[in-house]
Amino acid sequence: MNSILDVAAIKRDFPIFSQEMRGGKRLVFLDSGATSQKPIQVMDAERNFYSTNNAAVHRGSYLLAERASEAFEGARDRVAQFIGAQSHEIVFTKSATESLNLLAVSLERTTGSLQVSEGDEIVVSELEHHANLIPWQELAKRTGAVLKWFEMNEDGSLNLSKIDQIITSKCKVVAITHQSNVLGSVPDIAPIIAAAHAVGALFVLDGCQSVPHQPVNVQALDVDFLVFSGHKALGPTGIGVLWGRQELLSQMEPFLYGGSMIETVTMTDSTWAEAPKRFEAGVPNMAQAVGLAAALDYLDVVGLSKIHQWELHLTNLALKGLKEIDGVKVIGPQGLENRGGVISFTIAGLHPHDIGQVMDQYGVAVRTGHHCAWPLIRKLGLTGTTRASFYLYNDESDVEVFLESVAGARDYFGNR
């Protein structure tokens, strides 16, 4: 199976793997669900921008400003191409979190049919990351709209049996994750998108855990908005994406006000530029946009389908291994169906924090706790899980060390 990806070659592009962890151990990084590592190509792209093209975009007519604008707009084109969108539908934000907050606030400010107001309904799910829950919770509180949600089944899927009661004619917006960041489960969104559109509601897809890991095409999905973060997709920190259908973005009110997003300004009144500029106030995160473009180049060269296949292969090995360790319980989907390369588990009698601490001693980086999805964790009757998430730079030996470290954690406390 090593033929799917040449992981040894890939690892060489990521300088982080060339250092030793505690006790001289090599790094087994299994926390890409939180943030990914960065290849040298991404660092070089940022450095190159600063060294040769750096100037404020859209604001100067000198050579560097021209080049900076070209680099920044080129990055926009690159992102658009990556998800099957059009360039002017891509808004650069600082993170998926900002993208979602932008949407929630803009839908409050925009008058007309898009506006969320008293009595309207907003729908999310119990799978959601806090970033795709609290902005909607607060939107509901500010406006008097009602927040509703799909419940989660034990296996991490969504319970769609009451879909007709959940998505009604009062529904204005439905915001659901493409994949759970805790369990790796992939909810069946097609019927939800159809139900949302049937009642004229907007569908927002949280692609944080999918866009970096598999081919995602906004046309094929038939969603209205998609958000994701650059830092989980080999890109720099400080860059996120909001994609929205042009006819929607062009009607929507801004989120941040300031330079570069205006048409005219007087002391008392201002009017706005066209989207996407309308949503990009101030000197933007230029170098980060360019770095993200380089990251997407990297992902495309390796191939998103192959990455997905490889992650599932590693997940399969890990799932099998975990089931052989006494006291370990995999949380959420037990097999490969409807899941991505993320595994949550518990060890009987042990707290995730303690498990993670022992695993760290093996050089294994995993995430412990509620993973910013506290309602999901509560629903499962847990206080937290230990989570491993795979990416293109992980290989089978990483899975071996991972399994060894899980057994090690159990033994460390069990034997004392």
Binding site: H58, S61, A65, E66, S69, E263, T264, A273
Partner: protein
């Protein structure tokens, strides 16, 4: 000097003595701004018997934007909507070409002098401002552009 390819004689002539510039009068006036630099244009026209008539514009802006407005108004005034559409399309393509095409002089006439602008991306909007105002006004007057 590379600059001379941008600031051709024709451009400076139009800049100094712009054509069709005055107080826009028609009922339908459009107002466009370039928010990057604050340049503005107001433009009015009429579509009579399928022809562009009474085009008049006023505005503030750099030599490129002013010359472009002057040249544009010469070019489309009195023309059929269909011919204006052809000119508009040819000019837009030229501007967005980043210097890769030189434009059809038959169609563009004086506007060919603006070809150099396409190599200065920050100035393309200056050159296009009046053309977009024209397009907008013509559409509002019922023309299919």
């Amino acid at each position: 000097m590379e600059l001379d390819s941008l600031y051709q004689e024709v451009i400076l002539d139009h800049y100094k003595k712009p054509h069709h510039k005055g107080l826009p009068v028609g009922e339908l006036q459009v107002h466009h701004v370039n928010p990057n630099c604050g340049d503005e244009i107001t433009l009015s026209l009429a579509i009579k018997n399928g022809k562009v008539e009474d085009l008049i514009w006023d505005g503030v802006g750099c030599s490129i934007s002013q010359a472009s407005a002057s040249i544009m108004s010469d070019l489309v005034s009195g023309k059929s909507v269909e011919s204006a559409r052809v000119v508009l399309q040819e000019f837009t393509e030229l501007m967005q070409s980043k210097g890769t095409i030189s434009g059809d002089e038959e169609i563009l006439e004086d506007a060919i002098a603006l070809a150099g602008v396409s190599k200065f991306p920050a100035r393309v909007k200056c050159a296009l401002l009046s053309w977009m105002a024209f397009k907008d006004a013509a559409i509002q007057n019922g023309a299919e552009l």
